[in-house]
């Protein structure tokens, strides 16, 4: 069953077509990776899906309803949560209050007290309990990425979009983050991960979408997509892709 659908979505910035006639669907409960070179339009796509930007043409449907014209706070209340590539905390609030704000407004909790309760649960889940009363600005980068996760989880999301939650983390921190994402998926949340790190993509995603110049150039299981010549070319350029292709072929002959 599809939960989030983009139908022929385009978005122009002046003369630049950042997203070009793009269609795809996310199924309930799956983990999908969105990859693509820098400037491919990945963050623009997330912005379109969460109401930060409005498509120049096309439609976005969430649980069957047309949400093309939604505003960001409406997306959050509907259950379309996201984390930011560049973390966006409320710097002078405590870590607990940061998460409580998301629970109160996005998670539609009845009262500030109820929101604080939900926030404590999410801090426990993301391992931030020890930092609950510290200001958000005192957290390390890994901590702030976790805070972003806790905030988006506090809105009780149905679809969670993770915009490079692992960028800038060391490998130990990445393993921790991966374990968290798996646990979130186990709760039935549909996840769209935007990632550069192939380790993450390969270990998480059941399906990969490859974006290049605002268009989907490949779609399918991770192992298959990384061998797709168009994908290799998009990342490495035509010249290197050819050489890589030859070497790969030779390698296979040698191994065979």
């Amino acid at each position: 069953m599809t939960i989030l659908v983009a139908e022929r979505v385009s978005r122009n910035f002046g003369g630049i077509r950042a997203i070009d006639d793009l269609s795809f669907a996310l199924n309930q409960g799956e983990i999908v990776a969105l990859i693509g070179p820098n400037g491919a339009g990945k963050t623009t796509l997330v912005n379109l899906l969460t109401g930060v930007l409005r498509p120049s043409s096309g439609h976005i449907r969430f649980e069957g309803a047309d949400v093309t014209a939604q505003r960001p706070f409406e997306a959050a209340r509907r259950g379309l949560a996201r984390t930011f590539q560049i973390v966006q905390p409320f710097p002078r609030m405590s870590v607990l209050e940061n998460v409580a704000a998301a629970a109160l407004f996005g998670g539609k909790q009845e009262s500030v007290a109820a929101a604080m309760g939900v926030a404590r649960e999410q801090l426990e889940f993301t391992g931030l309990t020890a930092f609950a009363d510290r200001p958000a600005s005192a957290l390390t980068l890994a901590g702030r990425k976790r805070l972003e996760l806790a905030k988006s989880m506090a809105t009780s999301p149905k679809v969670l979009m993770l915009d490079e939650v692992n960028a800038g983390l060391n490998s130990g921190e990445i393993d921790g983050a991966l374990a968290l994402i798996h646990q979130i998926a186990d709760r039935g949340v549909t996840i769209l991960v935007i990632e550069h790190l192939m380790k993450v993509v390969l270990s998480l995603a059941q399906r990969v979408l490859v974006l290049h110049h605002g268009q989907l150039i490949a779609e399918g299981p991770a192992q298959q997509v990384v061998r797709d010549p168009r994908v290799v070319e998009a990342y490495l350029g035509e010249k290197f892709a050819k050489r890589f292709g030859v070497e790969a072929a030779q390698g296979e002959v040698a191994h065979g």
């Binding site: 996201r82 930011f84 710097p91 609030m93 704000a101 109160l104 996005g106 500030v112």
Partner: protein, 317 residues
């Protein structure tokens, strides 16, 4: 500072102001009226400037509109207190409509836009002579009983308005509205993403910041018995009110009240001692205070300060 302590200090301050007729000179009573009046204005500004962090300079526009709405209502035969109610609603409606437009601006642009509002409203009022009397101003019926008795009546009125704005501040501070406004103040985009209806919340905060400026303006008009555009839309007021709030502690419950009291005290001291240069000295003091006390007087750690003084004395001994 602990919130309960802030409430207690406020109650003490209300008693001190309200009891001035029993123990102080008429000059002090008048000063108490002005302090209560400015406290209500500063508490109002705190909703948009303190909680939401939008540097509004519209206070004089709302105050002036209140003056004129109240005066015109009274001249149309509406009883005084009802006329104040009319002024309150008119000013609130004006702010709600205006807020939906100028709250699209952020930061410095919003500040400039909000100053422009004061000038535009002043120009409209002074040009619309047939209704407002233009530059000649408007007379209002004077209350009987002599100036000192009238000052006592308006002391009660202004202290009441101060209490009402304070109670609303306490409510906002604890409610989801206050929480949402603080989120907007810290990071508006993140607030939007977290699910805060930012446009609605900002318009509510801007309207709250206007509502009681309207009442205070109308009451002020009734008190003085005469209003004109220069006096009602003074740029000094529009600057003074945010400075008072910043001095005390923006976004806190008691900060605006403390800031108003401290500012008025400074003003009186410099006025009395340096007749020629008082504004210049006051300006310098404001710059120094805001530079060294960005969080206002409430943000000082008094316990730490005491410990440091005490520690030093110990070391000296």
């Amino acid at each position: 500072m602990d919130r309960r302590l802030q409430y207690i200090l406020f109650a003490v301050w209300v008693l001190a102001l309200a009891s001035t007729p029993f123990w102080a000179s008429n000059y002090i009573v008048r000063l108490a009226v002005v302090v209560a009046m400015y406290s209500a204005l500063t508490l109002s500004w705190n909703f948009i400037g303190g909680f939401a962090g939008y540097p509004s300079f519209s206070t004089a526009a709302f105050f002036g509109l209140g003056c004129y709405a109240g005066a015109l209502a009274q001249r149309a035969g509406i009883p005084m207190v009802l006329a104040w109610g009319v002024a309150t609603l008119a000013t609130g409606a004006f702010a709600a409509a205006l807020g939906a437009i100028i709250l699209r601006l952020r930061g410095h642009y919003f500040a400039i836009g909000s100053i422009a509002v004061v000038e535009v409203v002043r120009l409209v009022i002074s040009s619309w002579g047939s209704l407002t009397g233009g530059g000649d101003g408007l007379n209002l019926p004077l209350l009987s009983g002599g100036p000192n008795a009238v000052a006592r009546i308006f002391l009660i009125v202004m202290v009441t308005l101060m209490i009402v704005t304070f109670l609303i501040t306490v409510y906002v501070d604890r409610s989801r509205l206050g929480f949402g406004l603080r989120c907007i103040q810290q990071n508006e985009d993140a607030a939007n993403m977290a699910g805060v209806n930012i446009t609605l919340y900002k318009v509510i905060a801007y309207t709250l910041s206007a509502l009681f400026c309207g009442t205070v303006g109308a009451a002020y008009a009734s008190w003085t018995g005469y209003i004109d555009p220069t006096d009602s839309f003074s740029i000094i007021m529009t600057v003074k009110v945010p400075v008072m709030c910043l001095l005390g502690g923006p976004g806190t419950v008691l900060g605006p009240v403390i800031g108003t009291a401290a500012f008025t005290l400074l003003e009186e001291v410099f006025w009395a001692n340096f007749l020629d240069y008082n504004r210049a000295i006051l300006g310098a003091v404001i710059v120094i205070l805001i530079f060294f006390l960005p969080g206002g007087l409430l943000a000082i750690s008094y316990r730490g300060l005491g410990a440091r003084l005490f520690g030093r004395r110990k070391a000296a001994a």
